[in-house]
Structure formats: C-alpha cells, structure tokens
C-alpha cells in the first residue's frame, strides 16, 4: 500500500539504503573529479570498476580475506590507471577514445576471468556492518548513518578529504592549475605529466574501490557487467557536481535516494505502474542533465593533451 511508504520504518529503510547505494558513485566520481580537475577525461571508469569488482570478489572468495580483496582491487585499479596515464600523458592519445578502449577491455576481461576462474555466480560474506557505539542507538538516525559497513563510512570520509586536498593544499593548487592552464603551470615549474599521472592513478584506485564496494560490501556477488552503467553515471555526476567534491556528494545522494525509493516501492508491492518504477533512475539522469546545463565552466584544459613547447 502507498501508505506503507510513509511509515517511519520504511522511511528509515529508504534513507539507510540510499546512503549505502551512494558508496560506489562517491568513490568513482571523486576519483574522476581529481583526474578531470587536472585536465584528464577518463571514460574508462566503468571498466576499472568492473575489474576492481572482480578482483576483490575473487580474492575474497579464495582467501577469505576481505582486506586482501580490497587491496587487490586497488592494485588492479592503479594498474589500469597507470596504463591510462601512459597512453594519455606520454602518447597524448585522444582521451575519449582511450577511455572507451579501457571500458571495453575491462568489460571483456572481467567477464573472461569470471568465466574461466569461477564459472558460476557465488556469494561471499562481505564487510560487516559496524555499529558505532552510542550513536547507532539513536532511533532512526542510528540505523541510517551509524550502522553501515566500513566502505560506506570511507566513501563519506573521502568527500571532506578530497575537498581539503583540492582546495587547501599545494598539491590541490597544482592539480587545478594543471587543469586550467598547463602551460602556465609548466613555466612555474609544476611537472604537468607527473601531476596527471598522480590523478589518473588515484582515479583508477578509487574506481577499483568503487567496484569492490559493490562486490564485497553491498551486493556480495560478482556477475557479468554488474556495474551496469554506474561508471558512466559517475562521470556524469562529476559534471553535475560542477567538478566539486561537495557537488558530487549531492548528486550521488540524490541519485541513490531515488534508486532506494524505487527498490522499496518494488519490495512493498506498491501498485505503481511498472514502466514508471523501472524508469525512475533514468528520469533522474535526465534531470541531472537538464539542471546542470552550463552553470559552471569545465576545467579549461579538460581532455586536451599537454605538449611542452620547446
């Protein structure tokens, strides 16, 4: 019944799952924010997430060690980032295309390894919920904010850290200057290539964590193409969030809450026309697109390769 939707239990449930579902978007989109602020458009996020999700899941399945799984996902993401950085920085390849190449590679590769090494869908016991003493006992609030697993907490911790690094540190200043005016940054002695290597690899690591958060913390399974476009949505969220970590947070939360609502509508068997329920997440993406039209300027050097003048 519709009225079920407005009971306190259900509202708490929707908010708690919304907070949880935002996790992969946050990791991936914050990583992408760093690389875009330094002028690199990485469209391969989806592929990095898929390989990260598989690596984390497989290692966890075989060793039983969640942390080892998470670290493998980070390593895989870092390697993908390294390759992307080489192609982008050293070879000055067109970023849109190389990103899609990495996407196709990650999509095929994760599936190939899945078929070869596992063959069937299995489940693992993912990161457990951590109830923060005291705070998790607050009615409602406790369940929503303080009874999540460690990767969820990590994602929200990442937002202020990313904000601080980008806006209050020398490193952040260098990243932004490289994204806005690489020639000027270069003439002031900033190593443009090295900064971009750093941001692309960081983005890869965070995309790996995003994938791992799906396979060993939220869903605890691995399936073919399990990210189903979330990596591309993360790229769109960076745009929606106007290249700011706080904006990305807002976008990720909005998107995930609507998604959670949609899932609960199905769970509760509310007679909403099925075409409406299935469409909700997409409609939201439309809104994201329409409402974020050109209020903020993209980093000037976004997707432009840098070549030093002799």
């Amino acid at each position: 019944m519709i009225s079920d939707l407005f009971s306190v239990t259900v509202l708490v449930g929707i908010l708690a799952s919304g907070i949880r579902l935002a996790t992969p978007y946050l990791y991936a989109a914050i990583g992408e924010t760093f690389s875009q602020r330094s002028g690199v458009l990485n469209l391969g996020v989806e592929g990095q997430m898929l390989l990260g999700a598989f690596a984390a899941f497989y290692v966890t399945l075989t060793t039983g060690n969640l942390w080892l799984g998470l670290m493998t996902a980070m390593l895989v993401g870092a390697l993908m980032g390294l390759a992307m950085a080489y192609v982008t920085v050293n070879l000055q390849a067109q970023q849109g295309i190389s990103g899609i190449g990495f996407y196709l590679f990650g999509l095929g590769m994760s599936d190939l390894l899945f078929q070869k090494l596992m063959g069937t869908v299995e489940t693992v016991k993912g990161f457990p919920k951590i109830h923060i003493p005291g705070l998790s006992d607050i009615p409602g609030i406790g369940e929503i904010f303080f009874s999540q697993n460690i990767l969820v907490y990590g994602a929200y911790l990442l937002v202020p850290i990313a904000w601080f690094v980008l806006n209050k540190t020398t490193l952040g200043l260098k990243i932004r200057s490289v994204g806005e005016n690489p020639d000027a940054a270069d003439s002031l002695g900033v190593n443009v290539g090295r900064i971009r290597y750093f941001t692309i690899i960081l983005g890869g690591i965070l995309s790996g964590v995003a994938g791992a958060s799906l396979s060993i913390a939220l869903l605890n399974v691995f399936q073919q193409n399990m990210t189903s476009g979330q990596g591309f949505i993360a790229v769109a969220l960076v745009y929606f969030g106007a290249w700011r970590p706080t904006g990305v947070l807002g976008g990720a939360l909005l998107f995930s809450l609507i998604n959670a609502l949609q899932l609960w509508v199905q769970v509760l068997n509310i007679p909403v026309p099925s075409e409406i329920a299935v469409m909700m997440p997409y409609v939201l993406t439309i809104l994201v697109l329409v409402t974020s039209v050109s209020k903020v300027r993209a980093p000037s050097a976004l997707s432009k390769p840098f070549e030093r003048e002799n």
Partner: protein, 346 residues
C-alpha cells in the same frame, strides 16, 4: 601524404594488431585457455561457412552505418558519444512509423520505406539535440551525449512497458513482433537482407565522397582542424557542426531502423547493442579515413560473430572479443603515439 608514408602507416596498424593478439594470448594463457585454439574457433565461427559469413555481414551493416556517420562528426572535430542514443531513437521512430502505418492498407514496401525515413529523422533529431546543447548551451558533446543515451534507454523501456506493451504482459523481450509483410526481405535461407547490405554500402560510399571529393567536406574538415581559422575565413562554423551532427544522426538512425526492420522485427530494450561504442572504435582505428572503415568494421563484426561459439567449445565466453577489441584500440593508440614520436625526432 606520400604513398610511401601511407604504407608505413598500414605497417604500424598491423603491428598494433599483432601486439594486441600477442597480449590477448598472454591473458588467455594466464587464464588457462589455449590461445591458438581460441583464435581458430573465432575464424571458423566467422568464416567457416557461407551462412556464418552472412551472419558476420548482418552485424557489419549497423556497424558500418554507424562508423560512416561517426567519420563525419570526427572530421568536424566532434566527439559524438551520443551515437548509441541516436541508434536507439532511429529504432524507436521506425517502430512508431510501422505501428502507425501497419493497418492503413498502404503497400508494405511503401510502409517500410517511410519507416526507414522515420528512423533517419529520429536519429537526426537526437543528434541535433546533442548539437544544440553544445552550440547553444555550451554543454560538451561528451556529457550531453552520455545524458541523451540514458534518456533514449529510458524512453525505450517506457515504451516497451507502457504504451507499446505486448497484449497481456509487458516484458524485457520487447514489443509485439511485426507482421512478416513488414520485414525487409532476406536472402533465401539466410538472416541477411540484401536491402540492408546495399544501404550500408551506399552510406559508406556517400561519406567517402562527401569527405574526399566535395567542397562541403573540405569545409567540414576545416572546422575540425582549426575552428577559429575556419570561422575567420568565413565558414559558418556552428551551422557546419550542426550539419555534421545531422548527417551522423541520420546514418545512426538508419542503423536503428535496420535492426528493427531486418533483424529483430520489434523494439527491444538493448536495440543499439553497443554498436555505437564499437563504431567509435572503428572510426578512430581507421584514422578517420573512410576507405578503411569497411574492412575494419568487417573485422570487428567477424570478431563479434566468431566468438559466439567460444563458450560452447572452450568454455570461454564471447567476452574474449571484447578483450581483443579493447586491446586493439589501446595498442593502436600506443603505436600511433610511438609513430608520432619517431616522426618528431626525425
């Protein structure tokens, strides 16, 4: 470009292909599958019989249409990532026209003709939207395109589960299939439509002449090479960009129309089947030269079809073709970068 350097270029592309194959072999070995056996299966799966080869051509048709369109936007310096959505809108418009006209008593061939025109228009409108967002809204065509792709998927799902749902229960299997009179005719015993094949070949020939042999194509390329210079020389730049989007969208729309009228005979949720992304790869791999698009697209289509039987024979999923395609793109980029480095040094 001299004749000599063109062949050097081809040599570099072949080197990239060999490297991609080598690297994929390493992955296969690591995963415990025999690489040669896998490649042999792909080749026989694609070229083992006339029927199999005709299936490759079925997959070649949409890929070639999309690649032809993308060559035009690439020439104009545009990243038309929204091409997936343009295929989808083409398919939607075609389905709409077929639904509206199927009970009018018009001759089936006229209905099909109008439906394909509608598909062209649908794709073109979607591309113009991305173009308008870029030209008038300042939205980078990559972000606009990504967003419009999601909108297109949403619209497809809405139609399949809503207004166009099958009598009884709506499902992911798509809309009610069209009457056989409204299918494009096929070669006997095959899944390939001669009409689709002819249209795809005409499209690539059209794009080849447009880009190589016309004043219009020259100006398009001028906009792509140096936007500001073209503007100062009096080329109406934004109009040319919109026209470029329009041509690409129309061709992608025909690809969608072909999927509806010659392959699925209905609208399905994933009607674009990733041909948009593959088309982007093809257009990039051929270095924006139309003449190479046909063989490269054929190669990709063969990979797609050839790897279909891999799961049965080697317990490898058809995902292998994805790995190879991704590898191929990356190695072409690497080899291209190395080539330019050498060129700069000498």
């Amino acid at each position: 470009m001299t004749k000599n350097s063109r062949w050097v270029n081809v040599g570099f592309q072949i080197a990239a292909l060999v490297l991609a194959l080598l690297f994929t072999s390493l992955i296969l070995l690591a995963a415990g599958a025999p690489p040669l056996e896998a490649y042999k299966n792909i080749v026989t799966g694609a070229f083992g019989s006339f029927k199999k080869f005709s299936d490759v051509l079925v997959s070649w048709v949409p890929l070639l249409l999309v690649s032809a369109g993308l060559l035009v936007t690439f020439a104009t310096g545009l990243w038309n990532i929204g091409v997936e959505g343009q295929i989808t809108l083409g398919a939607i418009a075609t389905t709409w026209a077929l639904r509206e006209l199927q009970d009018t008593g018009l001759s089936p061939s006229l209905i099909l003709f109008l439906a394909i025109l509608a598909g062209m228009a649908g794709g073109a409108v979607w591309a113009l939207l991305a173009g308008a967002l870029k030209t008038f809204g300042g939205v980078n065509e990559i972000f606009g395109g990504l967003g419009l792709n999601f909108v297109a998927t949403a619209l497809t799902i809405y139609l399949i589960f809503g207004p166009w749902k099958r009598p009884g229960v709506a499902s992911m299997s798509g809309t009610e299939p069209f009457d056989e009179a409204l299918h494009l005719s096929l070669f006997p015993e095959l899944r390939l439509s001669p009409w689709a094949l002819v249209i795809a070949i005409l499209a690539i020939v059209f794009v080849y002449f447009l880009l190589q042999g016309t004043y219009f194509g020259l100006r398009l390329k001028a906009v792509g090479k140096n936007f500001r210079a073209a503007y100062l020389l009096g080329v109406p730049t934004w109009q040319y960009m919109m026209l470029s989007f329009l041509i690409c969208g129309a061709l992608a729309g025909i690809a969608g129309a072909m999927q509806v009228t010659a392959v699925y005979y209905r609208l399905i949720p994933s009607i674009s089947s990733g041909y948009g992304y593959l088309g982007l790869m093809v257009a990039m791999l051929v270095n924006y030269q139309a003449i190479w698009a046909a063989p490269v697209a054929l190669f990709f289509a063969a990979l797609n079809i050839g790897s279909i039987q891999l799961p049965i024979v080697l317990k490898l999923d058809s995902s292998l073709s994805g790995v190879l395609q991704g590898m191929l793109v990356l190695f072409v980029l690497i080899v291209e970068g190395v080539r330019q480095r050498i060129a700069r040094r000498s």
